[in-house]
């Protein structure tokens, strides 16, 4: 916007811009222009842009021959004087000549119409009209013009020449579309029309790659902030995981991956000690030999499980670097099951093995933890 305004200031009498249907409050609010203005500038800037649009001329006469307009002709416009009579300094209304010149389209079978209708309701746009070949020829002949040059519809080749006006032998209508790969979807070429010394030249061009943008006009600080916050709070939470006295008495099958809490080396050892004491306290009278084989097995299993956990943390601490490397290459950021248990060797291999998997098949709840950052 600012660039165009600067160009206009620089070439006030030789550069002219025509208003299109998007240059209004209605569409800039519906699409993203208003949002962009508010994000990057201010409500005031947006207001000024809208007022500028209100001032844009709606039509131009090129070399006395070509009627240039964004959309097309209107049933309420017979002569060029009718165009000049329109009060353009406002938001385009939903109907009427100001709406039509910005919104109308040629009929789909322009030049091959079966009857002699001039204007049909435009269902595509939901407003204004389709104009027909007879309608355009009628307008051109009445006003002694060669052709209507307009835009408003994407063209695959960037331009389209329609059926010739019998009276002149020149296309009655030309569409020029100068935005390549429109909406990043249409993959169209764009074109500009160059009219010099009575000759009309058409130049086509393709699109350029966008510079990389973050969604919602975010800047990088705002974008990266949640990441930074997450890492900081994660670490501080793990620093702070202190259990209350009640929690210390909890049963052995305590999942390490409690949301929001880290598990530390010391806590594991703590719990191990507590559980061991508790188990011994539970059966004060019995000696080891009086424990049933199942009970004994269970206790052994628990003790082994804790020993394994403790070993994990040891390995993790010692093999920090290999762990990070391994995590970086793993598909979901999680260490493969068993990698830690095997110690340095499995970490280096980066793979699990049957043997290690078997180690983990029992006492599974304890090992349902992932070392996700």
């Amino acid at each position: 916007m600012v660039y165009l305004a600067a160009q206009k200031l620089h070439h006030a009498t030789t550069l002219h811009m025509l208003r299109g249907n998007h240059e209004c409050r209605h569409l800039t609010e519906h699409f993203t222009f208003r949002a962009e203005c508010l994000t990057k500038y201010s409500e005031n800037f947006y207001r000024v842009c809208m007022e500028t649009f209100d001032c844009l001329p709606i039509g131009a006469l090129l070399n006395g021959q070509f009627f240039c307009v964004h959309g097309g002709i209107s049933p309420e416009i017979q002569t060029l004087a009718d165009v000049q009579k329109i009060d353009r300094f406002k938001e385009p209304p939903a109907h009427g000549p100001l709406c039509d010149v910005l919104w109308s389209d040629p009929n789909s079978d322009f030049g091959n119409e079966k009857n002699n209708d001039f204007f049909l309701h435009n269902a595509t746009r939901g407003c204004s009209y389709y104009y027909t070949y007879p309608a355009v020829c009628d307008f051109l002949n009445r006003n002694n013009l060669l052709s209507v040059i307009r835009a408003h519809e994407v063209q695959d080749m960037g331009y389209k020449m329609y059926k010739e006006n019998k009276a002149t032998g020149f296309p009655a209508l030309i569409t020029v579309f100068s935005a390549p790969n429109y909406l990043d979807v249409y993959q169209n070429k764009a074109a500009i029309l160059k009219y010099e010394q009575g000759k009309m030249n058409i130049r086509q061009f393709k699109n350029q790659e966008h510079p990389y943008w973050l969604p919602n006009f975010m800047d990088v600080l705002v974008w990266s902030f949640p990441f930074v916050v997450e890492k900081v709070t994660d670490l501080l939470l793990s620093l702070l995981s202190v259990c209350s006295d009640g929690e210390l008495q909890e049963e052995v099958h305590h999942r390490a991956s409690v949301v929001g809490e880290g598990v530390s080396y010391n806590r594991v050892i703590n719990e191990y000690e507590i559980v061991k004491k508790k188990l011994e306290a539970e059966r004060p009278a019995r000696t080891k030999s009086q424990l049933s084989p199942e009970r004994r097995q269970l206790i052994n299993a628990k003790i082994q499980a804790f020993a394994r956990m403790a070993r994990f943390y040891d390995i993790l601490r010692v093999e920090q670097e290999n762990v990070s490397k391994l995590k970086a290459v793993s598909p979901n950021g999680v260490l493969p099951l068993g990698a830690l248990a095997g110690g340095k060797d499995t970490l280096l291999q980066g793979s699990t093995s049957q043997h290690i998997r078997r180690l983990f098949s029992s006492h599974s709840p304890l090992f349902f933890f992932s070392l996700q950052p």
Binding site: V220, P226, E273, K327
Partner: protein, 189 residues
């Protein structure tokens, strides 16, 4: 190991630290318990090694920075309990009813700023922003694209045009963001 806490801190110290930081006595006791479990050599202070022993730190890309922010400006490169509590108190949630002591929005943002400011010169350069971005997105976005958005961000936010983002400029950039809730931890009491 866990219950030494109540023995080592006396009531007066508790009160003092509570006033400075805004923590309740229970919260301070729990923090002390954690502090002592980190303090392997029972010296009453924490060294960098004590922090680095925490497993989660190894896998946290900002781990070093976070430890660094604890040790910034500390005597002999060791953190005592007061300092420990001071830093953590920044992360107390901002309560509407109570006046913020250390857990002001500015302090929270200042902590975040330190995460970006890798060379501690109180300013963030394009290179520093880029480093954080690379940590964040890994290989998902090519470097030249990251470079261009980092440069654009600098242009947009660098009000005095010195090519760096200062703390003040960072505050302005973060005006809209929901710092208060995000950089807050719920401390168990």
């Amino acid at each position: 190991m866990g219950n030494r806490a109540t023995i080592m801190l006396d009531k007066k110290e508790l009160e003092q630290i509570g006033k400075e930081s805004g923590f309740t006595p229970n919260q301070i006791v729990r923090l002390y318990s954690r502090f002592t479990s980190l303090d392997k050599d029972n010296s009453g202070t924490l060294s960098r090694a004590d922090f680095l022993r925490i497993p989660e730190l190894a896998i946290n890309p900002l781990g070093d920075r976070i430890v660094h922010s604890f040790f910034k400006n500390t005597p002999d490169d060791r953190v005592n309990f007061r300092k420990f509590v001071e830093i953590l108190s920044v992360f107390r949630p901002i309560q509407k009813t109570k006046e913020a002591v250390l857990n002001t929005r500015e302090n929270k943002l200042r902590f975040a700023f330190q995460m970006y400011d890798l060379n501690d010169d109180e300013k963030v350069s394009v290179a520093e922003i880029l480093t954080v971005l690379q940590m964040m997105v890994g290989v998902n976005i090519p470097d030249d694209q990251l470079q261009s958005i980092a440069e654009r961000t600098l242009l947009e936010n660098d009000e005095d045009g010195d090519g760096f983002i200062t703390l003040q400029e960072f505050f302005t950039a973060m005006e809209e963001s929901d710092v208060d809730n995000r950089l807050s931890l719920r401390f168990l009491s």
